[in-house]
């Protein structure tokens, strides 16, 4: 008989002999027990997770409520008497939106800032919405914007601003904030930030402020 045929017969005989072999019944019993245990384990966390979701929802609601209270409290502080006095002065500076912004006022502001440049550059004040809303409205129609003070650029000359100028809204990389000593959120480093650049009649940028 041919070797190949013998081998094939031998393999078939082996396969036929092993055909009835099966795993013992204990294996099935163990598997079913494990399956039941797994189902219990799967069901248990569902209850816990529901409770967790509720807890998180309540916590979120509380956080929102606290934020609203704090925000209102801060707004109340801004309206306190000394600042209200300033607020009364501000309406004089407000001009209609369609007119050219008061560059003289900006020049005065910038000049004041240049007379004391270092603290201003190192720690620019983040302007509160309530107090600076009117000024922001001079440049853009977005009344809800928050803007910093104008930060003078190195070659600022207040005299040039007396002749007029122009404020241009631009978008800058957020990294530009760091150049003016403003804090940068590294998570949003690649995003753009709005800024108003104050150009003089000489065509040079004299000051900049960042808008949110």
């Amino acid at each position: 008989m041919n070797d190949e045929e013998m081998l094939t017969r031998g393999l078939k005989a082996l396969a036929a002999e092993m055909e009835p072999l099966e795993a013992p019944e204990t294996v099935e019993a163990k598997l079913l027990a494990a399956f039941r245990a797994q189902q219990k384990v799967v069901q248990m966390p569902r209850r816990q997770s529901n409770a967790r979701y509720w807890l998180m929802a309540v916590a979120a609601m509380l956080l929102i409520a606290i934020s609203v209270v704090v925000f209102r409290w801060n707004a109340g502080r801004i309206d306190s008497p000394p600042q209200q006095a300033n607020k009364q002065e501000q309406p004089q500076n407000i001009q209609p939106e369609n007119k050219r912004p008061s560059l003289e006022q900006f020049a005065i502001n910038v000049e004041n800032q240049t007379s004391n440049p270092l603290p201003q550059r190192r720690k620019p004040r983040r302007v509160n919405v309530a107090s600076y809303r009117p000024e922001t409205a001079q440049v853009a129609n977005h009344t809800n914007e928050i803007a910093t003070d104008f930060i003078p650029l190195g070659y600022m000359n207040a005299a040039n601003l007396q002749d007029g100028g122009q404020i241009v809204r631009v978008k800058l990389p957020r990294s530009a904030l760091a150049k003016f000593g403003l804090p940068v959120n590294m998570d949003r480093y690649n995003e753009k930030v709005k800024a108003d650049v104050l150009f003089g009649v000489d065509g040079l940028a004299h000051a900049i402020r960042f808008v949110q």
Partner: protein, 206 residues
């Protein structure tokens, strides 16, 4: 129950993953035989075969969602998982086995051949035993193709899916495996022939 018997493996798996115990039982009864035999033929150990069968279905219970019907049948998927478990288990067993038990594949084949008495080898059961030993003595990459294609009657395409290789590779490995098996079994056949001659002469003298 009868309705579920008609369901495909994939549908049973879906129901099982949704928490249906009956589907697991059906799927197990449908596939455990092949899995167990494959593990047994690969390892030569009933203990390993039992453990592996259990591990394979436990894996299916926990990670069954990784099965993709587009890539192949559930049967092929289960054979693939079984293969991985068996090979892992054999590696562990090889590390834990005493040095004396460890040997080259060819050496074990020769031992398997010479340990057999020629007269006893005439019986069918022992012929099967010699084939079984020869198969077990093959290197794992040849053993798995012999077990799948020759003993489990799995098609070349499915074998290729299970092993994660090309059909051509399956064919060439099977060819090589059969050549190795013949080489291992040939001494047995020769002894068999010599043995039968001895018996005849003994009878003449008697």
């Amino acid at each position: 129950m009868n309705l579920k018997n008609d369901l495909s493996d994939s549908e049973l798996l879906r129901l099982m993953l949704a928490g249906d115990e009956e589907s697991l039982a059906l799927l197990y009864r449908r596939r455990q035989g092949g899995i167990y035999r494959f593990a047994l033929q690969m390892s030569g150990s009933k203990t390993i075969a039992e453990d592996v069968t259990q591990e394979v279905f436990l894996f299916l219970m926990r990670e069954g969602h990784v099965f993709d019907p587009v890539k192949g049948s559930l049967s092929a998927f289960l054979f693939g998982v079984t293969r991985n478990h068996v090979l892992r288990r054999l590696r562990v067993e090889q590390l834990l086995a005493p040095l004396g038990d460890e040997g080259d594949d060819d050496v074990s084949a020769v031992q398997a051949a010479t340990d057999l008495c020629p007269l006893e080898d005439l019986t069918r059961a022992e012929t099967i035993e010699s084939v079984r030993k020869a198969v077990l003595s093959l290197p794992s990459k040849y053993r798995e193709v012999v077990v799948l294609c020759e003993l489990q009657d799995v098609s070349y395409v499915e074998t290729a899916e299970i092993l994660g290789c090309a059909i051509g590779t399956v064919r060439s490995r099977l060819h090589r495996a059969r050549a190795l098996l013949l080489a291992k079994l040939r001494p047995v056949a020769e002894i068999e022939e010599t043995g039968s001659a001895t018996v005849k002469s003994a009878r003449c003298f008697a």
